[in-house]
């Protein structure tokens, strides 16, 4: 199976990037210099059998097209949209192109300048990565590969969700099932978007390792057995569907099931102290400690973690959502999603502020009142 990406960029220095990404043996990336829009689409069409995926630099309009004095009059989203539309073409007399992964690669500044706040283009790309993120290039190359593999599985399985996600439908939310099945035509990139954006990059049915730690109530910094616990006890809950080789996720309903099976107690009904006690009692992993509530919080019914602490220091500090304050989420909130929260303490200390963590506007009043109440007590007020 070939795994060839083309990398379209106006800059000439990207061959070092494409070479580095290719050296891990996962994917093969060929740099393609910028052309006029027409020539670009023709190039891709003509070579389509050898192209399994497209990586686009965001800005394509800075360096002139080779052999000319003019710069391209379009940027990455324009090509991505044309490719998506060509993959949807159902008129047999018109040009049609196979559906394939489209990835955005750029610099922080460019993404902030023209992409971050422009919502219309966000559904065009499967994933994005930064040119300077060379430390993660091995992981990224793995993710690029699993995008190609995942696209093939989706195309072969159409609306068969349980094959694509590798789980029985009974575990899935009815609105998610509807998203898959109630479409007139199954277009692979649409399904890929749902899986990537609404499952893998969201918390809800699928959770990542940090969220799993928080839901188990464990203090990662002092629990040496945490990783072994997760790998050995909860492996049956690991996500094995498309794209799973690129991102480690676990099915939350299965985590709840496994927990009940081994402890006879319901994860969603008891507090973290009991959760950790039961894990120690019923598994060989004894080096597990329950996390302490964040300062100014009382509850240990942890179900999420503080996004402020995570953004600022990387620490995972478990948090009871009832004590937390909702933050602004990039993506639309769907019925199977969980909100993201910040703790009172992190808000007060402005943690994560410079990293883009922002309090949801509906929570401002609640935060203000709590702050007044706490400061009233601290100042010895009435």
């Amino acid at each position: 199976m070939s795994n060839n990406y083309i990398f379209i960029d106006d800059q000439s220095d990207i061959s070092s990037i494409t070479r580095r990404l290719s050296e891990f043996g996962n994917v093969n990336i060929t740099p393609v210099p910028i052309k006029t829009f027409n020539d670009m689409i023709t190039y891709i069409s003509t070579n389509i059998t050898d192209i399994d995926g497209v990586i686009l630099d965001l800005r394509l309009d800075e360096v002139p097209i080779a052999g000319t004095q003019s710069i391209a009059q379009y940027k990455a989203p324009a090509i991505a949209q044309e490719l998506r539309t060509l993959s949807a073409e159902s008129d047999p007399n018109k040009r049609h192109l196979k559906d394939l992964p489209i990835v955005l690669c750029s610099t922080d500044e460019n993404i902030k300048a023209i992409y971050k706040d422009e919502n219309a283009s966000h559904n065009l790309f499967d994933i994005r990565f930064l040119k300077k993120d060379t430390d993660n290039f091995e992981l990224i190359s793995k993710q690029l590969l699993c995008l190609i593999e995942g696209y093939k599985v989706i195309t072969d399985n159409q609306d068969n969700m349980s094959s694509i996600l590798s789980i029985e439908e009974s575990y899935l939310d009815k609105n998610l099932i509807s998203k898959f099945k109630d479409q007139n035509r199954i277009l692979t990139h649409n399904i890929a978007q749902i899986i990537l954006k609404d499952l893998i990059f969201s918390t809800g049915l699928l959770i990542d390792k940090n969220m799993l730690i928080a839901k188990l109530g464990i203090d990662l910094s002092v629990s040496e057995d945490a990783d072994a616990l997760i790998s050995n006890v909860f492996h049956r809950a690991k996500y094995q569907g498309v794209f799973s080789n690129g991102w480690d996720r676990w099915w939350l309903p299965k985590i709840i099931e496994i927990f009940k099976q081994i402890t006879d107690v319901s994860l969603v009904q008891v507090d973290a102290k009991i959760r950790v006690e039961k894990l120690v009692e019923n598994t060989p992993y004894k080096k597990l400690q329950v996390a302490a509530p964040i300062e100014n919080n009382l509850s240990n019914r942890f179900w999420t973690y503080c996004q402020g602490y995570k953004a600022e220091t990387g620490e995972i500090r478990p948090l009871d959502p009832l004590e937390g304050f909702k933050i602004v989420k990039g993506r639309e909130h769907l019925s199977w999603h969980e909100y993201e929260y910040i703790s009172f303490d992190a808000l007060r200390n402005r943690l994560g502020r410079t990293k883009g963590i922002k309090l949801h506007s509906s929570e401002e009043e609640r935060y203000r009142l709590k702050k007044e109440a706490i400061e009233g007590v601290e100042n010895g007020g009435n």
């Binding site: 609105n175 839901k215 319901s266 969603v268 959502p321 009832l322 929570e363 009043e365 709590k370 109440a373």
Partner: protein
């Protein structure tokens, strides 16, 4: 008039909890979304509830709502050919922020809580009505009324029923039952009338359990504390935080 700071704090926390609760239930019962009006009432610090002839008091806070939930199956329903259609839940409650969330005191000063179920049998409208009321303080009725009691029938039944068949309907017995707010009320309705949803939430939704636990602590605990303490403390009834004889007129002084 503006709610006191303490009342505002309670109001906004309660509004947040109720919104979270509604969002959890919306997935299975989208008709519950109309109860979001509770949050609008609570978040407006100028909405001070009043009842009866008592003057407005900015320590008081409360809410009311009326929701209509579709229902298609009820255990043991007679006449057998009746098709259940709607379960209407309405609640109005008022609390004093100085007495709320105290583990020994009555959490509310006013409660009206109605469950009206409507069905159809040979194109006749069939009615079932149940309500949980708080007996007003300083009320002068001759009959003993438990402070919070469930009663079958009532005004709504009388308004809608024209033929009684062979059924008899009266105001008694007044059965003592712990108070319930919107959240506990919905939990009660789910467990009795939508048990699939209730079981699923109990077994898989952490926040649902957290919310129920929190409001059981606030609303149920003082009631049961008073009952339990009846056998522990020996102060005269009228000196206890919550007079157990109010809750259960049947209790007698213990040696």
């Amino acid at each position: 008039m503006e709610a006191t700071k303490k009342a505002q704090s309670i109001r906004i926390d309660t509004a947040n909890d109720i919104l979270t609760f509604i969002q959890i239930l919306e997935n299975d019962l989208d008709a519950i979304a109309s109860a979001k009006n509770i949050c609008d009432i609570l978040e407006d610090k100028h909405k001070i509830p009043i009842y009866g002839m008592t003057p407005a008091n900015n320590n008081y806070w409360g809410y009311e709502t009326h929701i209509r939930l579709p229902i298609s199956k009820i255990d043991g329903l007679k006449p057998i050919s009746t098709q259940p259609a709607v379960l209407e839940f309405s609640i109005k409650l008022i609390a004093d922020s100085n007495k709320f969330n105290d583990q020994y005191c009555d959490p509310f000063i006013y409660l009206e809580f109605n469950i009206l179920t409507i069905g159809y049998c040979s194109s006749k409208e069939m009615i079932h009505s149940l309500h949980l009321d708080r007996h007003p303080d300083n009320s002068h009725s001759n009959d003993p009324h438990p402070k919070y009691h469930f009663q079958f029938g009532g005004r709504k039944l009388e308004e809608k029923i024209t033929e009684y068949g062979q059924g008899m309907f009266f105001d008694t017995p007044r059965m003592m039952h712990h108070p319930m707010d919107f959240i506990l009320g919905m939990d009660f309705i789910l467990s009795n009338y939508y048990s699939d949803i209730w079981n699923n939430l109990h077994n898989s939704n952490h926040e649902y359990n957290s919310l129920i636990g929190k409001y059981q602590d606030i609303v149920m605990k003082p009631y049961f504390n008073s009952m339990a303490n009846h056998w522990n403390i020996r102060t005269p009834f009228e000196h206890r935080d919550w007079n157990t004889q109010d809750i259960c007129p049947q209790v007698v002084t213990r040696p």
